[in-house]
Every structure is written in C-alpha cells, then in structure tokens.
C-alpha cells in the first residue's frame, strides 16, 4: 500500500478532511507523495479528488465556506500553520487547471513571466532565461519562440495548456498539481501533456487528478482511488490496476460503476 520507505518524502497529508461549511467532501485522507513521482487520483465525479488537490496549495480555503481539519506537510512543515503565508506557499506548489487559462491581455512571453514578476523587478536577462527554460520544459519553446510577443489566445487549446504548465514551472515550484489537465484537449494535445509528465517528474513531485483511467495507468507511479470523499485504496499503479484489494476499486476500474 504505502510507497517504499526509501523514497524521499516530499508532500504528505495527515488525516485531511476538507469541508464546505459543515459538509465534508474529503474525509480523513492520509497520503504520502514521494519526491519525483507522479501520483494519479482517480474516482467518479464528486468523489472529492479535486477538492483534495485544492487543499494541497490552499486554494480550497478560497472557496465559499471552504476549510479543513488535519494537516498537509511539505518537507515536514504544516502548510496550514498560522506562520505560513498562503500566497508564498502557492509559489512553491504550482497548479494547472482543467481548462487552459492563459491571461488574455498578455502575450505568450508575459504569461510565462507573470509568476516571476510577482516579487518585484528582476533583471531582464534573468526573466528571459527563466521564460525560455520554462517553455522548453513544457515542450512549447520550438512552437512559440518566433512569436513570443503575440497573444496567448492565438495558440491552440493544447498549446495554451502547455503554456499554463510553463507558467507554473517558471517559478521553479517543488510540487506540480494538475487538475484533469487534458480534459479539454484532443488526443494529440493529450499525448503531448502525458509525454511531458515523464520529463517533469525528474524535477518535480506531481499529483494529477484524472477521469481517464488509461491516462492514470500510463503516466503515474502511484494511484489513489477516491470514492465518496474517502481514499479507498492507494498503491503502485500497476498493482492497483491489476490486483486491486478493495472490491469498490475493482468495480470502478472495470467500469461497473462511476
């Protein structure tokens, strides 16, 4: 069940419960995310996997009535500790959303640089280098290097999503959260993002929420199955898909419900 003990631990939740008002949508979930791995979270709609993801960078508390109990530890430090600034934290934990969200008033370059300029001004050359680096890591550089000053809206949906990945990477986060990043993409765009994840996990710890079971099987090292707000089962991806221990997991991955 648990990841091997030798993997360096990066991110961990301890008895995390997420609520809207008095309604708990994530219940008592404890997961370890080892460094430089991809963990996929699967489960039927409304099972709480997206809410769980949003607790990891403190976005959940921005929703109306959103609050949590339990702990989320990044390098052993509770990110919900009163001494932690949520805004600063979100710079260490990047997030990519279901639909591409390029800033429409900004050029391709400015979109990637947006996160960098948050902390006052930096030397131009430094920003240039960071933008190029992030676009390269997001496998977008070759497609946009000649039109960095154009509107980000001129890109295709798949390119926009990789731009959003680049925007998240430019700040060199430690963790990258992806909330169904390929849900609105065509097969080609999906494939590019999936290939990208293999590259990125050498540098980042990745948590991906997905509705696509094949995708979870293709890209992840570990998979967690959520149902009705609870973590039913967590394990190595190939084991969870071939030999699930819980009958609910088996029913879901064989398509009997969900």
């Amino acid at each position: 069940m648990a990841p091997p003990a030798d993997a360096r631990l990066q991110l961990e939740t301890a008895r995390l419960t997420a609520l809207y008002g008095r309604r708990a949508v994530v219940k008592d979930v404890s997961i370890l995310f080892p460094a430089h791995t991809v963990t996929a979270l699967i489960g039927p709609s409304g099972c709480g996997k997206t809410t769980f993801l949003r607790c990891l960078n403190r976005m959940h508390e921005l929703s109306e009535g959103g609050w949590i109990t339990g702990k989320v530890l990044l390098h052993g430090e509770d990110i919900y500790d009163p001494g932690i600034d949520a805004v600063q934290l979100r710079r260490r934990v990047g997030m990519v959303f279901q639909r591409p969200t390029p800033f429409p008033t900004m050029s391709i370059y400015d979109n990637v640089a947006a996160g960098l300029r948050v902390n006052g001004s930096r030397p131009r050359a430094e920003i240039d280098a960071a933008v190029e680096g992030a676009l390269r890591r997001a496998a977008l550089w070759d497609e946009v290097k000649d039109r960095l000053r154009q509107s980000a809206l001129a890109l295709s949906g798949g390119q926009q999503q990789r731009l959003c990945v680049a925007r998240g990477l430019a700040r060199e986060p430690e963790v990258l959260l992806l909330d169904e990043p390929t849900a609105s993409l065509d097969p080609t765009g999906t494939q590019r993002i999936e290939e990208l994840l293999h590259e990125l996990k050498t540098r980042y710890t990745i948590v991906i929420v997905t509705h696509n079971l094949q995708q979870a099987a293709r890209v992840s090292d570990y998979t967690g199955f959520f149902y009705l707000g609870e973590l039913v089962e967590l394990g190595r991806t190939e084991e969870l898909f071939t030999k699930p221990t819980k009958h609910q997991t088996e029913a879901y991955i064989t398509g009997r419900f969900g």
């Binding site: 805004v87 969200t101 429409p104 008033t105 947006a114 948050v118 509107s151 998240g168 700040r171």
Partner: protein
C-alpha cells in the same frame, strides 16, 4: 410532421422579421435625430463658430468657443473626480461586495442612478454654491461627477463579473495576492468594458443641462477658471433654443450638432485607443 415544420418556419420567419423591424425603428430614431441636426445646424457652422465667443443678441456672427472649452473643462473635471470613485466602487462591489456593506453600496448606487439630475444639481448648489457664495464650474463638475459615479460603479461591476472565475483562480494559484489578482489580471481583462462604460458615462453627463443650471450657471464670456461660472454647450443650447431670436435658434441647432460631434469623436477615440495590441478587443 410537415405541418410542424411549416409552422416552425412561419414562427421563425415572423419573429426574425419582427426583431428586424424593431431594430430598424431604433436605428431610424438615431438617424432622424442626426439628420435633423445636420439639416438645421450644419449651415451655421463655420470657422468663427468654433473660434469666437457669443455676440450680443441682434448682432450677427459670433460663436460658441467659450462653451466648447467650458464643456471640455466641466466634463473633464467631472471625469477626473468621478472616474476613480466610480470604477473603484465597481471593482470593490465585484471583488469584495458579497457582504452586507456591498448590498448597501449597491442599493445606494441604484437609487442614485434613478435620481433626477436636477435633484443632484440642487444638492451641489446647497453644498458648494451656497457656502462658496457664487456659482462655479467646480460645482457643476461635482454635480456631474455625482451623476457618473453610480453609473460607472454598476457598469464596472458588471464588466468585472464577466471575467471568468478560472482566470482569477489561475492568478491566485500562481502566487498572486488577492489585490494584485484584482488589479493586474481581473481589471485588466475587463478594461475594454470598463473604458466603454466610462465613455458612456462621460457622454451621458456631457449633455446634462439641468444640474448645471444653478451650479456652472453659464457665462457669456470666455473663462477657464473653475471657480467662476462657466458656459457649456448644453447650457448654451438651452439659452439659445428658448430665446426669441431666429438667429439663436439656428445657433442652438449648430451647438447641438457640435455637442453630438464631440461625443462621437470621444467614442471613436476610445475605440481606437482600445484596439487591442492583439486584435482581440471588441
């Protein structure tokens, strides 16, 4: 089956024709006004109409230079006062106005929006003209600003609310603080709409006459001091149109044409300035 289809086509056709006719009527009214203004006023327009001040009744010639400059000053000052307050209020309402205070501000803005402009004029007269002891352009500008604020607040709020929630989340997830998200991402994305709203607000008050009657008052001479009475095109039109002289009536038409032209230029200028660098603006 075919009866249904026939009926559907008939209803569809009728409705399309109906809305077409209605839009034509709406546009027709505008065209008639503009056509009438040109027909009645264009003949009185010449260079001196723009460069000379009014001459005494009975004398021929003269222009409305003082009123054109006065309109620019009074409306410009009103915009200077009203735009920051109105747009700021709108931003507040859209971004933070979900609580009780937001409800109150919204309610007050709606009431103020429906307040007759002459009432606002009386307000400015009571609070500015009376204490100062004399009429002034400043009092007129304040009255116009008060009219602009609720309009701007509500349109700005609408425009900001149109910005998708996902953009806001994307900025927050990137480590933007709330205020920075509001200004750098949300307000900037809504900018085209906000500027359009500001423009409509300015155009609306540029033609206001009632609140200026006992604030800016009017002035036969050329004046640029905001602490003195000042002429505006709307006041000039009012005086000329209600006067007994044929010459004045022609001048009133011409002044109305100029006022309409100024508003049109303002609208075009804003459109031009807002042409997005990326051609994505509307």
């Amino acid at each position: 089956m075919s009866v249904h289809r026939w009926r559907r086509r008939l209803v569809s056709g009728t409705m399309t024709t109906l809305v077409g006719v209605l839009s034509f009527v709406a546009v027709l009214a505008l065209l008639l006004i503009l056509g009438h203004l040109v027909a009645k006023g264009a003949s009185s327009l010449d260079w001196s109409f723009f460069t000379r001040n009014p001459v005494p009744a009975g004398a021929s010639g003269g222009g409305v230079a003082n009123a054109i400059v006065g309109t620019a000053i009074v409306v410009g000052l009103a915009a200077l006062i009203g735009l920051p307050i109105g747009i700021g209020t709108g931003l507040y309402l859209a971004e933070y106005g979900s609580g009780r205070l937001g409800w109150v501000v919204r309610f007050v803005a709606d009431v103020l929006n429906g307040t007759p402009s002459i009432v606002v004029g009386i307000f400015a007269w009571t609070w500015l003209v009376k204490p100062m002891g004399h009429f002034s352009a400043l009092a007129g500008s304040v009255a116009l600003a008060v009219l602009m604020v609720p309009m701007l607040a509500r349109t700005t709020e609408e425009m900001v609310r149109l910005v998708p929630h996902s953009l806001r989340e994307a900025a927050l997830a990137l480590g933007y603080a709330r205020w920075r998200t509001s200004l750098r991402i949300v307000a900037r994305t809504a900018l085209a709409g906000i500027v359009t709203g500001a423009l409509v607000g300015i155009a609306r008050v540029a033609g206001e006459t009632a609140p200026l009657l006992f604030t800016a008052l009017g002035n036969l001479n050329f004046s640029t001091s905001v602490l003195q009475p000042m002429q505006t095109l709307s006041l000039q039109i009012y005086v000329y149109a209600t006067g007994p002289f044929e010459e004045w009536h022609r001048m009133a038409w011409a002044a109305a044409l100029v006022l309409m032209g100024l508003v049109l230029i303002l609208a075009l200028a804003a459109r031009w300035a807002l042409r997005s660098r990326y051609g994505a603006a509307r």
